[in-house]
């Protein structure tokens, strides 16, 4: 009896500590329901004779569990069974702590993103205030209907708990899998609202809520609605998340300040969204990020750290692409087991369009959970994203076959989710005082998919699991058996199938990439001799030149051979080779994840290309093969003020952060002309300001004036203190331009618009970094030179739209002659592979001398981007970024033999061909495996589960979405 009393005390303590106030009443007295209701059962149960898994790795054979009033009262091998208990014989059964589903988005729990859009309401144009997007409000309700955040996709105030009522249709499939509790989460939007932890019991909704406002949920889900409301791009999504949290921080400060001194000043707005973000902002509420791709895992973690959020991550199932990025987050991952199955292709020939990447994704999928564990990450398993929940256990088995341990798997269903939810004192293990949530399985236990889940207990109530109907399956088996001559043969087949499934054939995408080292253990020391070296610097062109590289830098460059004290790792020279600096592309969209344009608003200065660098695109390798070493990744040209740009070095294999050119000045894309006035966007787009070239300077002047005042507000705050101004990511960015910290790269065509733009910038004492494309720049070369802007042009593109009808291939030469700093760019994943021959066109059109022609793609773009102290020429002390050419670099018949960055070889012609051959080989092996699996499993869908999941198979990873596709400034619109 003493034991029991102690147990009760413990229980009471637990209850006090917990938030589960409602259960206090049920423990103290039985509730008598009015006649007509089914009376409540007594609620004392003893589960006897089962194998009790107390927690992962700890079990009792032949144990007893006593349940009273929804709680576990006692557990052990020799526990006294209370006289009043109902006895449940559990012999031969395995009892686990009830499983917890960590992520269960439920449909229609969120309000529509934008309820009240009226694009053409000009009345609102005058009525609307200027919000942070830098446009007059185009909606009467900027976000959702009623008081809300101005972006409809930001709805942190949404509470899943308010929409949840237990519905057996929804929760029974989960219980059938052994789940007893679930985090129900809102499903739509970017900042989606809060989830609730519920017991998967039926009855009064108020009774089943274990914890309301469990997490705040954020998804990098730029899925555009038809209205194309901001944000529609991935980078816009991230900017919106950051701005929302900064707004929430300021909201709190503002209200606190106002409460201190409410008289005689403007009342701060009431904003339910910002109020709802407070717990997350203060670190009191965990935030769950769903980044949606392997690379965005890293971004989510960085955003969370910047905002000081306590966070966990929903896995995309794709972390195998970059395990390093997952590892660095140190976060708990909520991991789905949604594995692709082999598709049924109409004809054998159609294997043609199955890519290596798809096959890799298929082959890696089941290994992803184990891989995350290998990165020392805690994982919680979820049924999320399975359209057919029934395949969960089969897929889980596949994950176990691929190295996930049963202990880890059990933890991922019990203790880890309990910890994630902060309910480890109530759930997750079988211990006295914990909620009586149990999962009971027969046979060999849960991890054998053949063993049936018998019952689950939720809040001390038993829910029997009906055996699944297996008619369809039997039919299939019957057919299969007809084909199989003997049972033994079938077993052999099955064993073979299993073996095949267990062994991964696919390699990691990081294999066969990255720097190619002669001696992997040491930094390369390179000696180049007997070569023509185009320095693009003070040493001009050194025929029979010499260059020494170590520690990633140029240590010596000369024409005369020196006495060599070095023992180089690499020796380059002879055979008529030429050496040039690594080529630099001042206008690229080649390594951007998701959209290139946030084309919704006329100013999107708050979005950052740096947030969405795609380190995984093959463009990097293909452009290295053309001698490119540096690219200026630019936002598109859909708006007068576009997003922030990012200079990268093409260090293939590095992470997105690792690609960034450290020290490069900040940049931003601007644009003028047809794109920004939406001339070619169709008749639907005629209401965004500006719609003509008259409005473009008006718009720029407006935003720069606003930014100027924003800077002044901060200066005042720094001088006088008080309430800090609201941080405005758009104006802050434009402010950096005014302060000279950020270079403008402005897409432009016609001479009039270029002049108008330069003059507006001069009003704000801003010197433009580069005019991009600048097709009619040759008409006003003197004015551009006088302003001091660089010109980054196409070699010869013209006539693709009206404003480029006057573009001429002589433009670069003409501007150069008049003193403009000129470079040639690609704006194309193709042209970026052959900028040398683009440069050669300047010799043909305008007679630029060859040394100067090469500079159009080396030192000139380096100067334009402000990185010329490190790159762009081969000079003492500079970065060892260079290209080895088979012949004259401006001859279209020459090819790149090697490309080096920071003194490391990132491209080697033979190596590249070898790696491609390996990829081809790997694909063949994967197809062999796939076909064999198909034939072994009787021509069905063939992989680790029976119900087909072609959709997942055909899913194109964000990282490879644009491989083989040309990307331009306006891609989103075409």
């Amino acid at each position: 009896m003493n034991g029991l009393l102690l147990c009760r005390l413990k229980l009471a303590l637990t209850v006090v500590l917990s938030v589960l106030i409602s259960f206090v009443t049920s423990t103290t007295q039985a509730q008598i329901l009015p006649p007509g209701f089914r009376p409540k059962p007594l609620g004392v149960h003893a589960l006897v004779g089962g194998r009790v898994i107390l927690k992962p790795g700890e079990k009792i054979e032949n144990g007893t569990i006593v349940i009273r009033d929804g709680y576990i009262e006692a557990v052990g091998a020799d526990v006294a069974i209370p006289a009043e208990a109902r006895i449940w014989d559990c012999k031969g059964l395995t009892i686990y702590a009830g499983f917890i589903e960590s992520y269960f988005p439920i449909g229609q729990t969120n309000s529509p993103a934008t309820a009240n859009d009226d694009n053409s309401a000009t009345a609102n144009l005058t009525a609307g205030g200027v919000n942070f997007y830098g446009v007059p409000g185009q909606r009467s309700d900027p976000g959702a209907r009623g008081a809300s955040y101005e972006v409809g996709k930001i709805s942190p105030e949404h509470r899943a708990v308010q929409d949840y009522s237990p519905n057996s249709k929804t929760i029974k499939p989960l219980r059938d899998l052994g789940f007893t509790a679930a985090v129900i989460a809102p499903q739509r939007g970017i900042i989606r609202g809060t989830s609730a932890l519920v017991a998967l019991a039926e009855g009064d909704p108020n009774d089943v809520i274990l914890k309301a406002d469990m997490f705040q949920h954020i998804a990098f889900d730029p899925q555009s609605d038809e209205e194309r409301a901001y944000p529609v791009s991935l980078m816009g999504t991230i900017a919106t998340v950051r701005q929302s949290f900064f707004d929430a921080q300021h909201f709190a400060l503002n209200h606190a300040d106002w409460q201190k001194q409410p008289h005689g000043r403007k009342r701060p707005e009431f904003n339910p969204a910002l109020a709802a973000l407070q717990p997350a902002t203060e670190g009191k509420q965990r935030v769950i990020f769903e980044p949606g791709s392997a690379l965005m895992v890293d971004r989510a973690a960085r955003v969370a750290r910047e905002l000081k959020l306590d966070f966990a991550i929903v896995s995309s199932g794709q972390e195998w692409r970059r395990p390093d990025l997952a590892r660095e987050t140190g976060a708990t991952f909520i991991v789905p087991v949604n594995f692709p199955t082999l598709p049924k292709l109409p004809s054998e020939e159609d294997w043609e369009q199955i890519t290596l990447d798809q096959l890799r994704a298929w082959d890696w999928a089941a290994e992803n959970p184990a891989l995350l564990r290998q990165q020392n990450l805690e994982i919680a398993l979820t049924t999320y994203s399975l359209s057919d929940k029934k395949v969960f256990r089969k897929n889980l088995k596949a994950a176990l076959d691929r190295g996930l341990s049963e202990t880890d798997a059990l933890a991922a269903l019990t203790t880890i989710p309990a910890k994630l939810c902060g309910v480890e004192k109530q759930l997750g293990t079988i211990e006295p005082g914990k909620i009586a949530n149990l999962t009971i399985v027969d046979g060999k236990g849960y991890f054998d998919p053949e063993s049936r889940v018998r019952d689950v207990w939720v809040d001390g109530r038993n829910y029997a699991v009906q055996p699944a109907k297996e008619v369809a399956k039997k039919d299939e088996n019957a057919n299969a058996e007809k084909e199989d001559k003997t049972k033994a043969e079938k077993e052999k087949k099955n064993a073979e199938l299993k073996e095949l499934q267990k062994k991964r054939v696919a390699r990691g995408p990081l294999e066969g990439r990255g720097a190619i080292a002669q001696r992997p253990d040491s930094q390369p020391v390179v000696i180049i001799s007997n070569a023509t070296i185009w320095t693009s610097g003070s040493r001009r062109i050194l025929t029979n030149g010499f260059m020494l590289v170590s520690d990633g830098k140029i240590q010596s460059i000369d024409s005369s051979p020196l006495n060599l004290r070095f023992n180089p790792t690499d020796r380059i020279g002879g055979g008529g080779i030429h050496i040039t600096p690594g080529l630099i592309d001042a206008h690229s969209h080649s390594a951007i994840l998701g959209g290139v344009n946030e084309g919704t608003l006329p100013s999107t200065a708050m979005v950052r290309i740096g947030d969405v660098i795609n380190s995984e695109t093959r463009n990097i390798q293909d452009q290295l093969a053309g001698g490119l070493t540096v690219a200026n990744l630019l936002h598109g040209s859909a708006n007068p003020i576009g997003g922030q740009s990012q200079v990268i070095k093409l260090r293939d294999g590095a992470s997105p952060e690792g690609l960034k050119f450290q020290g490069a000045p900040l940049g931003i894309k601007f644009a003028l002309g047809e794109n920004v006035k939406q001339s070619n966007w169709g008749e639907r787009n005629i209401t965004r300001f500006p719609q003509s070239r008259t409005g473009v300077p008006t718009f720029h002047r407006n935003r720069f004036t606003a930014a100027q005042q924003y800077l002044q507000a901060w200066e005042r705050f720094q001088r006088d203190g008080g309430l800090p101004p609201r941080r405005d990511l758009e104006l802050e960015t434009i402010g950096e331009i005014i302060q000279g910290k950020r270079l403008i790269h402005c897409h432009s065509y016609r001479q009039d618009e270029i002049l108008a733009f330069l003059r507006v910038m001069e009003e704000f004492n801003v010197r433009v970094g580069t005019m991009q494309h600048v097709l009619e720049g040759y008409k006003i070369a003197d004015e551009i030179a006088a302003h001091g802007a660089g010109a980054s042009c196409f070699a010869d593109w013209w006539a693709y739209k009206f404003e480029v009808y006057d573009a001429i291939p002589f433009a670069g030469a003409l501007m150069r002659e008049r003193g403009v700093l000129v470079s040639f760019n690609s704006d194309s994943s193709d042209l970026a592979r052959r900028l040398n021959t683009e440069a050669a066109k300047s010799m043909k059109f305008g007679g630029v001398p060859e040394e100067e022609a090469l500079k159009l793609v080396t030192i000139n773009p380096a100067r334009q981007l402000g990185i010329d102290k490190w790159v762009g020429s081969l000079e003492l002390g500079k970065d060892a970024d260079f290209v080895v050419w088979s012949g004259h670099p401006l001859d279209s018949r020459s090819v790149v033999l090697q490309t080096w960055i920071d003194g490391k070889k990132y491209f080697d012609r033979d190596e590249a061909l070898k790696r491609a051959a390996e990829r081809k080989q790997e694909r063949e092996e994967l197809i062999t495996k796939a076909k064999k699996l198909k034939s072994l499993s009787g021509g069905g869908s063939g992989s680790s589960n029976e119900s087909g999941n072609d959709g997942e198979f055909f899913r194109i990873a964000l990282e490879t979405e644009f491989d083989g596709v040309e990307r331009h400034c306006m891609e989103e619109e075409h």
Binding site: A625, D796, W798, K920
Partner: protein
């Protein structure tokens, strides 16, 4: 000077009037070559071949001296001479005596036959983004009686830009859903389309039904209403092929009926098919995907059609198939990005070399109407990745002339062929080389164009600084 202005188009109105009338005369009493050509090919319209001799009317007798003559069909002659008379090449050698000829010294220059750009949008497109300037595409899947040469704008600003880099002839190619129409070969000179046309109908254009399946899952598609399962798409692509086959069968039936029936009522579309089903007119099949190419070759072989493969992105993957079936290829995708993640970085660059090694005859094609001038650089890229330079030059001149059925008078510097020649100050495959002078049908053409005019204008803008 990297271009010359000696002979601008508008400069000699009187000689042009003369040229126009003599052209008419010549059509009435055609040369033996024309008769021969007529004999070879006839269509519903009667004479197919219109002679470039229109242009020759204004041609002088010229002796080009001092240049390296790249005859293409034969040996290259350093410090060679070429005699142009009556619009034709009258003699080639090291020392030709022609007292009536005006001597033109081309010391240090290189002479090449005019380049021929097949499968282009030139003449049918002015500004891509402006619909009013596009004449590329018609409505319907079966429009064999659409003729591209009728809609070429002789005053397109794009034409002189292409010409200024040595392109003398082009094939404006109709685009379409499937059976798009017929193309002609046009010279980059002439006052009207009728003067420009060298040969009407050089091919019927079939855009092979797409083999590629849209594998976008239903839940991810942008428009779920139009989403189709793989099976459904497979049925549809098969059905399209069946219909295509059926169309050609009907065309054959028409041809047969026409031979036997009295009081036959002609149908324009079927009439347009006659030279094709009779095997006189090649079918240019546009296909990129390897599955499409295989199917197309198979179809053309079975039906004994003269096939030219155009676009041909994946052609290098089935080089042997193309070679063994004698299918020439217009390769448009040298600069295409590698399409498969297993492809090496140079897969498309080296495509022409692979085709050549297998024995496939290739021609290059410009990228887009405005950049046809870059035609030789597609070949140059192929040379960098293994195509022999001599083959590359042939693929710009002689081979496209053969594919267009005009190799008897174009495509090489040979006695008796048209005096269509250009002079460069370097290798034609080298971007740094400049075209200095050009003759089409023995008449020098201007190298001036919109670009050079604007350059001159703004080069001479008084300095502001």
């Amino acid at each position: 000077m990297i271009y010359n202005q000696r002979h601008t188009i508008g400069a000699s109105a009187s000689s042009t009037a003369q040229q126009f009338s003599s052209c008419k005369v010549e059509r009435r009493s055609p040369s033996s070559a024309v008769q021969k050509a007529r004999h070879l090919i006839t269509t519903f319209f009667g004479a197919v071949v219109l002679w470039m001799s229109c242009a020759s009317a204004g041609a002088e007798t010229l002796l080009l001296k001092g240049a390296t003559v790249h005859t293409v069909s034969g040996a290259t002659i350093t410090n060679g001479q070429v005699l142009l008379r009556d619009g034709k090449i009258a003699a080639i050698g090291s020392s030709i005596s022609a007292t009536d000829a005006k001597e033109i010294s081309l010391d240090g220059l290189h002479l090449y036959p005019g380049m021929i750009a097949l499968n282009t949008e030139l003449g049918l497109v002015e500004i891509d983004a402006i619909r009013a300037t596009l004449d590329l595409k018609e409505v319907g899947e079966y429009t064999p009686d659409v003729y591209s040469w009728l809609a070429v704008n002789p005053d397109s600003e794009l034409l002189p830009v292409a010409r200024a880099n040595g392109v003398s002839h082009f094939e404006p190619t109709p685009a379409g859903a499937m059976l798009a129409g017929q193309s002609g070969l046009l010279a980059l000179t002439g006052w009207t389309t009728e003067e420009m046309v060298v040969r009407k109908s050089i091919a019927l254009h079939v855009y092979w039904p797409r083999a590629n399946l849209d594998t976008t899952p239903k839940e991810r598609t942008r428009n779920p209403r139009t989403w189709k399962s793989l099976e459904e798409q497979d049925r549809e692509r098969k059905e399209k092929l069946r219909q295509l086959d059926e169309f050609f069968a009907e065309a054959r039936a028409y041809a047969k009926a026409k031979e036997s029936a009295k009081d036959f009522q002609p149908v324009p579309a079927w009439e347009a098919m006659l030279p094709v089903v009779r095997g006189e007119l090649p079918v240019t099949i546009h296909a990129d995907d390897v599955r499409e190419i295989r199917a197309a070759v198979n179809w053309a072989t079975t039906n004994r059609f003269k096939m030219i493969l155009a676009d041909a992105r994946d052609a290098w993957r089935v080089a042997d198939l193309l070679a063994s079936n004698n299918v020439p290829v217009i390769f448009n995708h040298v600069f295409n990005l590698p399409q498969r993640d297993t492809d090496d970085y140079a897969a498309q660059y080296s495509g022409p070399a692979v085709l050549h090694r297998a024995g496939v005859k290739i021609a290059f094609s410009g990228t887009g109407a405005s950049l046809v001038k870059n035609l030789p650089y597609e070949a140059a890229q192929a040379v960098a990745f293994g195509l022999p330079a001599g083959e590359a030059v042939k693929a710009l001149t002689l081979y496209p002339a053969q594919m267009a059925g005009v190799a008897d008078h174009l495509g090489s510097i040979e006695v008796g062929k048209d005096a269509t020649i250009f002079a460069t100050d370097g290798d034609v495959l080298d971007i740094r080389s400049n075209v200095k002078r050009m003759w089409i049908g023995g008449k020098e053409v201007s190298l001036e164009n919109r670009h050079t005019r604007l350059y001159e204008k703004y080069k001479n803008r008084p300095r502001r600084n």
